[in-house]
């Protein structure tokens, strides 16, 4: 068909790797040579290539890699001369790799993916080391860039591209400086399309919103006035379903008055698809269309994004709810101080409920930057996998979502863990809330049931578990991704 010719396969021409054995060997040699002639076993002591070669599942690939490479490396020797590396590149070839490559002819993709992981890990290790190793990191990144692209190739390749860029940006920004947002301002239509796609492809958005909304509904079942303070309202879509539920609730006072205060930044609304005012207008119109009494307010943060409880307008007798959504697609990773000020400010006002949705990361291990980096890699690779599982053929659509949402998030996350190290808290916001004295509120049967039903609409790799009584966690296969938790600060029963 003519179509085939139109499309062609340009990707294979532009990269120097193919599925042939010899080329892959060269690539391997390259990676092993970045430690100037050291054998790979110095870096990754025990990698059973034969075991990995048959594995089709990307997830298991990373898992096996992470498990086997927990004990890390000897000290990285600094590079004296770039020429040395290039020379080593072409001369060095460890026999075990040649053999392994031949075994893996059938699963070159997996081995390629593994090599990319090794490259990324090597970069991370170099960056975590002494200053002299920065150069080494840059060299690896250059090589990495040649191998991957954010839009072509397999999941792992695209992922590695974003992570490579993120590491590069972290390197460039230096240890102290904050990462420049750098990411191109996405065209508004792109953002919208990507948002729509993200919602269709995955339950991430709806899971967080619906779980929080259900908890809110249950908490305000008998109230006439409800006031919700939303940390990052974006375009307000979370509240559409809440309003619908409020309008149609049977028990309790009918049609309670809903007031939403959106916390807004004092700077320009970057990367949002509309200002907060627009969101307010939209919400008001929607509320009017379904007959929900509604009013909208804004509350500005300080210049340093600190939340001041006093700037909030409160009404007597209203049920106060604080809503904090930190997951995809909520864009920018907010400064932890800002989030902390929001949540502690909430505490001073004694709200009925605090709903928190955040990404669920494994607890920080002793691996330092490298350990957290690998965990991030694992996390995002799971997200990529989950999107692909539902939409295997639509890599374009997925590439858009990755470009608009996941890429920037990767960038910020890597920058954050690179800068943070000891200063940033290692725990999640949920743990923080528990520690500062908020009480957990149990997730009801209805809520849990709703989450399960929701996931049933998507690919069956998703699962939900009730991790603690007040937390529902959405995961893909064996990896936990997103958690929604409910808290209160009052002593009385809800």
């Amino acid at each position: 068909m003519a179509m085939v010719m139109d499309l062609g396969f340009p990707s294979f021409e532009s990269f120097d790797y193919t599925t042939t054995t010899t080329t892959t060997t060269t690539t391997t040699t390259t990676t092993s040579s970045t430690d100037e002639g050291c054998n790979w076993s110095d870096w990754s002591p025990v990698v059973d290539w034969n075991e990995i070669s048959g594995d089709q599942d990307f997830q298991n690939l990373i898992d096996s890699m992470i498990d086997e490479n927990v004990v890390i490396h000897q000290s990285i020797r600094p590079i004296d001369d770039d020429d040395q590396i290039h020379e080593a590149e072409y001369n060095n070839s460890s026999p075990e790799y040649n053999m392994a490559m031949q075994d893996e002819a059938g699963s070159a993709e997996d081995s390629k993916g593994l090599r990319l992981i090794h490259l990324l890990m090597a970069t991370a290790e170099a960056m975590a080391g002494r200053d002299e190793c920065r150069g080494l990191a840059r060299v690896i990144l250059v090589r990495l860039k040649e191998l991957v692209s954010p839009t072509y190739g397999t999941n792992m390749e695209r992922l590695a591209a974003y992570f490579g860029d993120a590491l590069q940006a972290s390197l460039d920004a230096g240890a102290g400086g904050r990462l420049a947002p750098g990411a191109a301002e996405h065209h508004r239509a792109d953002v919208l399309a990507a948002f729509q796609l993200l919602q269709d492809m995955s339950p991430y958005v709806k899971f967080g919103h619906f779980t929080a909304n259900q908890a809110i509904l249950e908490a305000v079942a008998n109230d006439r006035r409800v006031h919700i303070v939303d940390y990052d309202i974006m375009e307000g879509i979370q509240w559409a379903s809440l309003m619908q539920a409020l309008v149609s609730r049977k028990d309790g006072p009918p049609a309670p008055h809903l007031r939403i205060t959106a916390v807004s930044r004092s700077g320009t609304g970057r990367r949002s698809f509309g200002t907060v005012q627009e969101t307010g207008r939209r919400l008001t119109a929607f509320a009017a269309s379904i007959g929900q009494p509604f009013s909208f307010h804004q509350c500005r943060l300080d210049a340093d994004e600190t939340f001041r409880p006093t700037s909030l307008k409160l009404v007597r007798g209203e049920a106060l709810v604080f809503n904090c959504m930190l997951h995809l697609p909520h864009f920018s990773h907010r400064a932890p101080d800002s989030i902390a000020s929001f949540l502690s400010g909430a505490g001073t006002l004694n709200p009925r409920l605090i709903t928190l949705v955040e990404e669920e990361m494994a607890p920080p291990s002793e691996g330092g930057f490298v350990g957290r980096f690998m965990d991030l890699l694992h996390h995002f690779s799971t997200v990529y996998d989950s999107l692909e599982a539902g939409f295997p053929m639509q890599s374009r659509a997925r590439a858009l979502v990755e470009r608009v949402f996941l890429g920037p998030r990767i960038m910020e996350s890597v920058g954050r863990i690179y800068r943070g190290r000891e200063t940033e808290e290692g725990c999640s916001w949920g743990q923080w809330l528990g520690a500062v004295g908020f009480r957990p509120v149990s997730i009801s049967f209805a809520n849990h049931c709703q989450a399960k039903l929701l996931l049933g609409l998507y690919n069956d790799g998703y699962r939900v578990e009730e991790l603690t009584t007040n937390k529902l966690v959405l995961g893909w296969k064996s990896r936990r991704l997103l958690s929604a938790s409910i808290w209160t600060s009052q002593d009385c029963d809800l």
């Binding site: 239509a189 559409a240 379903s241 929607f286 939409f391 890599s395």
Partner: protein, 327 residues
Amino acid sequence: MFHPKKPSSMTSHERPMCVQGDSGLVLTTDPKPRLRWTVELHERFVDAVTQLGGPDKATPKTIMRVMGVKGLTLYHLKSHLQKFRLGKQPHKDFNDHSMKDGMRASSLDLQRNNASSSGMMGRSMNDGNNAHITDAIRMQMEVNRRLHEQLEVQRHLQLRIEAHGKYMQTILEKACQTVLAGDGSGSYNKSTATAPDFAQTLSFPSLQDLNIYGSSEHLESLHHQSMERESFIPVSDNFLGKKRSVQYTTPSSGKSPLIWADDLRLQELGPADDQIDSVSDIYETKPMLSGDHEKKYEAKMDRPSPPRRAAAISAGGMQQGRSSPFG
């Protein structure tokens, strides 16, 4: 609130009990007087609740009225009703009392009525232990309650997803208006032209409304057409909007990509080996689908494939492209 009239040893409890003569209530003489839910009392309670239409419909007030037991307060009934609903009546209230015939009879009734729990009941009956029977009843009621609740949740979920989808549409509509008014098509550079092309070539029901190049009536008819094709959603018919767009992955058989393609032409996207700058090719098809898609594929072939910039071509393409799956 309760004043024991005279201590009596009517039962074999360690704690002295007392009977308030006229109402037949059994109370303790604890420092904290509690009401003892005897079998008889519980029977009356169950009767009253059944009269009122079940534990979910009955309220403490109405139960109190129906039972007509003096000395029984709302407080007692509230907590007992709650326990009844959860089916977690403490065992000790029954263990020490002999099972009345009435209670047994009502449990048998329940047993007959709930065939699904017959196995459970049968086991309990064979035990001959009264407590087990009541346990079984409670379990059954609990199961029923949960089932009911689950159905409720499902219904609510549908409505909420609908609302979510409607709101999304308002966002998209506003966006197209601004886009049409503001930029025009000229200002899109290659990488950012993805979205509008996306929108027009996608059959996502909601994205259909990102109607940059077409007319609204046309889209409405398409909307209706795609609704009709929702043949295999197991839940209710009025489940619009988002549900449609997310039900891609429901079929778990190996045919899933193909089934999906029946509804939405997204399946024809194919792997993304084409150039980025030819953004409209995102949804160009590749000849890798099975024979029954050939028709749609050919229809698509007629559409010119160069990058879309001009509205006219796009509109024409959209028309043409959309004709096949709904044909």
